[in-house]
Symmetry: D2
Subunit: 489 residues, 4 copies
């Protein structure tokens, strides 16, 4: 089957019979819901780029599984070049949408599960890998959208899964039948949780003895029986329900996260990819984290490009573009965004082949990448807020602009340089507002902090992945504690 167009993707969603709640109400026609639709558009952009001449080469690739051209989001990384192309595609998508386009979690999960199942089978003689390949073929042929489902709700972070007061704080197997398994629990912050056809479930941390029931990987249709989706609030979400398009800022696109409840969901055997192999929980978590920490080296620079362009535009509209301190701050914004991109590229180019045949990003450098992402977008926002001015949080509403009495005051007094219309200036302020405070701020701030693991998770990996003994030896030799190196020897 051909790769879907954006329109075909959106139509395909209508067939999903989701049990979805938003603002305390069950949502029936969720595809056309104005709060939800921008997030669908963002995913749809991943489909659109597969059909554009300029981006097709990045957005599609040949499948190892089917031999057909498939979306990169459903493909395996066959080389480090594939890893690099992923980053470049993500940057373009960030630029085009200004938000999280949600489809990377599935891509990263797919690759992590692919290599992990291969290795489980090697050790245990299981058949997870072949099952997974069949499922992947189904996904590729349908050009479906997959969400990765990793983050458990976790309860008391100081306790392991089986030690929690409520054993359901991590998704677990509650029953094993001859046909499959029954799972219970909830996944939090599910990016694209509504907009995906399928979810690929993985454990969220390295499991210890006694946690075997939590060692679980499987695929579940988003509209399976027992799946309940609760839509997370976003800042200023109600603005999407107002008339007009200015106050939302980024009117066309949005991110999405759900609390996804799995209330005794049955998963047929064919869709189970790990079932108790606790010793591989850390493996899949670490691999997924590597891929997903890499991903931020692509999308966040792309979103940053939008914020930089918006901020530079505000400087134009305010008449201060040539002020040295403004130029310096904008150059700083570029510097920080490109540093992230450089890290994204580096961990991709330095990737390595896994036993299963697909490629993994360099895990140390992927952690370096993501750790910078937990810092720099915040400074980009701060600088954008500096240059934009106080108007960022005092802008009147679009309805005030359209008002017969006060509209003319706004037109007159909120103009910056004379040759830029007041409405354009308001639109640009509102875009920056949406990226720093509003509907899309979670995509650039909170997600940068917590997506693919919070900062401390990276610090721990950085410490662990460093060969410190080697570094100590270097120092001891130069210090003359070990024998000094004789250069002519």
């Amino acid at each position: 089957m051909a790769i879907k167009t954006a329109g075909e993707y959106i139509e395909s969603l209508r067939k999903l019979k989701l049990d979805l709640y938003l603002f305390g109400e069950k949502v029936e026609n969720w595809v056309d819901n104005p709060v939800i639709r921008p997030s669908i558009n963002a995913v749809a952009m991943t489909y659109k780029l597969a059909h554009e001449a300029d981006s097709e080469a990045l957005a599609t690739t040949e499948s190892v599984v089917t031999g057909e051209k498939v979306s990169r989001f459903n493909a395996l990384f066959k080389s480090t070049d594939d890893l690099v192309d992923k980053i470049k595609l993500q940057r373009q998508l960030g630029q085009r949408t200004g938000v999280c386009f949600q489809r990377c979690v599935g891509m990263d999960a797919t690759n992590a599960v692919f290599s992990t199942t291969y290795e489980i089978d090697q050790r245990y003689g299981t058949e997870y890998h072949q099952r997974f390949r069949r499922w992947l073929k189904y996904i590729q042929e349908g050009d479906l959208c997959v969400q990765g489902a990793m983050t458990d709700v976790k309860g008391d972070r100081g306790l392991s899964p089986s030690k929690q007061t409520d054993p359901d704080m991590f998704v677990r197997i509650v029953e094993r039948t001859s046909d499959g398994i029954v799972v219970r629990g909830a996944k939090a912050h599910q990016t694209g949780g509504v907009n995906s056809h399928e979810m690929l479930v993985m454990p969220t941390l390295t499991l210890r003895e006694g946690d075997e029931d939590y060692a679980l990987m499987c695929a579940i249709p988003t509209d399976a029986e027992g799946v309940h989706l609760i839509y997370g609030r976003q800042p200023c979400d109600r603005r999407k329900l107002e008339a007009g398009d200015i106050d939302v800022g980024n009117y066309g696109f949005g991110g999405q996260e759900t609390l996804t409840v799995l209330d005794d969901v049955f998963v047929p055997r064919e869709r189970v990819f790990m079932c108790g192999e606790r010793d591989f929980s850390g493996v899949v978590v670490e691999r997924f984290a590597s891929y997903h920490r890499q991903s931020y080296g692509g999308c966040k620079p792309g979103i940053g490009d939008v914020l930089i362009g918006a901020t530079a535009s505000m400087a134009d509209y305010n008449g201060v573009s040539r002020a040295p301190h403004i130029r310096d701050k904008i150059a700083e914004m570029i510097h920080l965004a490109e540093t992230i991109y450089a890290c994204g590229l580096a961990c991709s180019y330095e990737g390595q082949k896994m036993a299963a045949g697909n490629y993994l990003s360099n895990t140390l450098l992927a952690n370096i990448c993501k750790h910078n992402v937990t810092r720099f977008p915040y400074e980009l926002c701060r600088l954008a807020e500096d240059i934009t001015g106080g108007i960022l949080v005092t802008l009147p509403s679009e309805r005030d602009l359209r008002h017969p009495v006060v509209g003319k005051y706004i037109q007159k007094y909120l103009r910056g340089v004379a040759d830029v219309p007041t409405e354009a200036r308001m639109r640009m302020v509102s875009l920056i507002h949406s990226m720093t405070f509003g509907t899309t701020a979670p995509s650039y701030r909170a997600e940068s902090m917590h997506g693919a693991g919070s900062p401390q998770a990276q610090k721990i990996m950085i410490e662990r992945l460093t060969d410190m003994d080697y570094k100590k030896r270097l120092a001891r030799r130069l210090a003359g504690i070990d024998a000094r190196e004789e250069v002519t020897a």
Copy 2:
């Protein structure tokens, strides 16, 4: 007349016949409007503290003008101790409200205009100072709330007022009559612009030759003929219109800014305090800035205390309070908040007496204080977001929590440690959300950046107020370029 209670203050507002617009509609009963009311409550807290045993000594003082006990917000600073008490009062108010309580601008403007009018009169034989004292007596006796009105809308920031395409981009005198003057223009980002009885108008920058009509200080009732108020949007403002109180976060209190249009407003002579004395424009701007940059050394640490307490609570609720990296980050938050406070205290203690008799904060240190405020609250927010977790932007709505079907899932799955109710955890998340993204985030982020002048304004003052020649001499002597100091000489 006695100092008003919070209730009396709120009732007094009902008498104001404001021409006020919000979301494109004229607001009639604005005092009870749910979007506006939290901001009124914040101002009301300044009245409440004047009646509490613990804070009365900070919140009131004896008036130089009337000899009566008056609100500190309407008083002159009679000593450096008064400046220090201001800071300590502001910190308490920040702690109690978690937002901007809006009344400092008027206090700071009052003190700046007081000393400036005295000096104008000394030079020009005018009678502004006596007029101002009479107006101040009126304010003190009525215990009125005053907003300082400084920030012009500015148009093209690269052009001076009289060089703008539209001459009204800075408030100006358009007519001088035998009884007074007529003024036109607009003031942007007016903190407490609706909640004040009076506005005290000042110029926004140092004026050059040709800008004489912009050299203007005067007092205008907020409901004077020709005054039009347009309420600025705030992030998540619509949440205040929803049922429930959780999703707003800080449900009780809020900030407020307006675009205040002065459409040919007549100001009687008795209320005019500067009228063309261009050479004093820079004086009053600099003094107001000194006071107001000092102010941020009080309120922002107070708001910071709330954010720190909320973040530490989240660590408790998540079960990670003892994790070393969490403790380190919280200690860092305290460190940054207290650094601001230290700067606020220092510029107060080091204040100096003006010719008019009142005291001015140390202007160099006040600029240091504010410049740190343009940085540290952002880092506090970043750390709060780090510790709070992704739930910050994925929390379901309160209505979902109350929902018969999904409410139980939320109760079950969004619990952290077992002994803290899920709802408490949601409330704390929502408070932090309001401070970092939502309704009160402007008070802690954008206002920290732009209130009392943007970062570059402080950099310029820091450069100007430093005796660099002295520092160069120190260096030259130690370098032996000038004669070295002989210590035994």
Copy 3:
């Protein structure tokens, strides 16, 4: 006896019969030793300022003990004004010397021991406080220089004193006789360890059960039997032995630290101020730390002034003073130095009276002060190095400048702007070099980091001194977990 002049102080040192080692040799005439003399000059400046009209009021005060005018460095803080004067005096001394002038440790130790001995006596009926007053009278009457001796060598930092493999890693009582005690151990990094007449010994940390022999305070003449002083190396110390004065940079002044060995030194009873009262070890350590962390709010801004003046001069000499990025960086340097100063002032003004009658700086704010000192001077150095240019580490020697063949090349090619002599430019480069890499860099870098406690020590205190329960209550009330505050109630 009158307060000594700088010259009298220096002469008084000649009477000390020190057992002092430098570069592997015993130093006999150490007062005139060119490596040591600059550090003596720095202390001498504290004497000189007591005789200058402009600084006498800061540098001297009336003694509580004798009723006479004494050096501030030997005085008790009688008020918060005294604490503030200390800071202002320290800033002047930093400006005049560009280095650590070494005498603050004794001043701070004196005040800490004064109040602690008072409280020990209150609890235990001992007579330490009267002894200490007598000793202090002796110090004041002789206008002697006192070093505080706190930092033990510590061995394995993971073990308490009595658990060390070698019990002497913390100074301890090895014998108690009828006349006094015998002490053994070593104090590291003794600031002004050679230039002081007396050392005032204190414990270095809070002692636990079993550590009683380490609970020790006493006064020891620097040249007592059994005291051995080993002079610490400083970067570029050998340059002081070369001909010429350019390459040293700060030729006139220097810091000083010693390893001070106490090899079974007898201390007569009259000079013992704590002897086993373990429960007061933490008290004196914390108080000394409070005073000394305050101190850095004075001296380091003063040294910073020199570096700022030197850097601004380099910008002049290179012809780039008006470049916006240079101006911005210099303003940043000022901002950071003044932030430290503000913290120094704040913790002084907010000091409190102790039971013994003297005043203690506000300990939380003193820790805030010092913690900023562990960061900002490094950034000041970085910015100074940025503006100075690569010449900072490639400057030819003074002897090359004087050389008949190559001297003319240096004169010609190392000139910056035409009207500043090359030699002046070289001198300024060399001064900055000394402050960032060379002889005086320890005063501005390493001492800023470790003096009065390393960064983590402040983080721990900041955490401990914060009333976090209060902050949590603030948050709970605003979040609606505790009852929301009704402002009109």
Copy 4:
């Protein structure tokens, strides 16, 4: 001719008849001079690695010019892989020497001049490129060491070359003869200025009209008539003249910079590669800067590895390795070093082919790389100083350690954990001292700041190389100022 061994390289230097001055004296046997020798060893390591099995593939490559295997330092970059290999080689060399190994400037200059001469010839029909190839063949066949000579002394930085009071402040052509040219001026901060056989001269900035005589590229033997070398001082350089090896820290290796005076040096035509083609001055400067800013992405992480290993060792020796704050700081050091490395890799992998056939690093990302280098090593140093402790600047001399009387005190009291010898601890302290204050600190601090251009140079390039119009368009479309993108269109 075969690639030289380290020993052969060193011997080859003896043939150079340099006119070299150090400490005001002409140095005859400079190869064995203890101040200079460590810097020779560092260059020699580049030769040594060409003969080691593990590094040969990185350290050598096939020459485009000769078809033979040559040192990478004398080779052209034939692919992006070559650019990556350069970075990996540089990291190894940084790890092995702990300092600047000096040979990159020549490598980078060679590649920049190669492509620039090709393009000059294309435009002007000159024959520079063939001349350059012949010279490069000579260099490769002799396996000579080349220094790049770019940085002019510059005089008044506010004036262009021809506007200076002294026209020699930038190297210029003072005479054109039938055989060649005569050049005059001086190059500052010449890395490896003494240790190279040849210097490759380039202009230092983009030249304007009237500056034609400064548009000059040529090759000059380091010992040519009229070349005078003045050795730059380094911190603690005199320690190399003392007995023992501890106090120097990095005893084996060092950096080197000279002031290189060209006093009317004749350059034969065959060695002239640019002579007045002013419009290519900016081209070669920018290309060289790109290569050299890339270079810092290799060497500085390598040096950082040494500092990290040394700091972690100190934590071991002090008994604090497991303290969470120590672990966090060391992980932070790794994070910063690896961020630089990631940038170095990214700008290499993203390189592009030039018209002449060799490859250029991605210039935007190379600037990003270097700009991080102007910041992160300083923070690495700060953290190293934090963890090492005050001993860093108070360590007694090695001669004290060896002293019959005080040596035993040092042995006893400067021990950390019981099982590490005191001398080992001293050696490690001294290594860190050398990297942060001492002989090798210029390699990690000042060179990181100024090598390959000061921070502002990168800021300017970052601004210039960004397609800001594209970013603005992205923002305008998402803001709805330009037509919004219809995703299904």
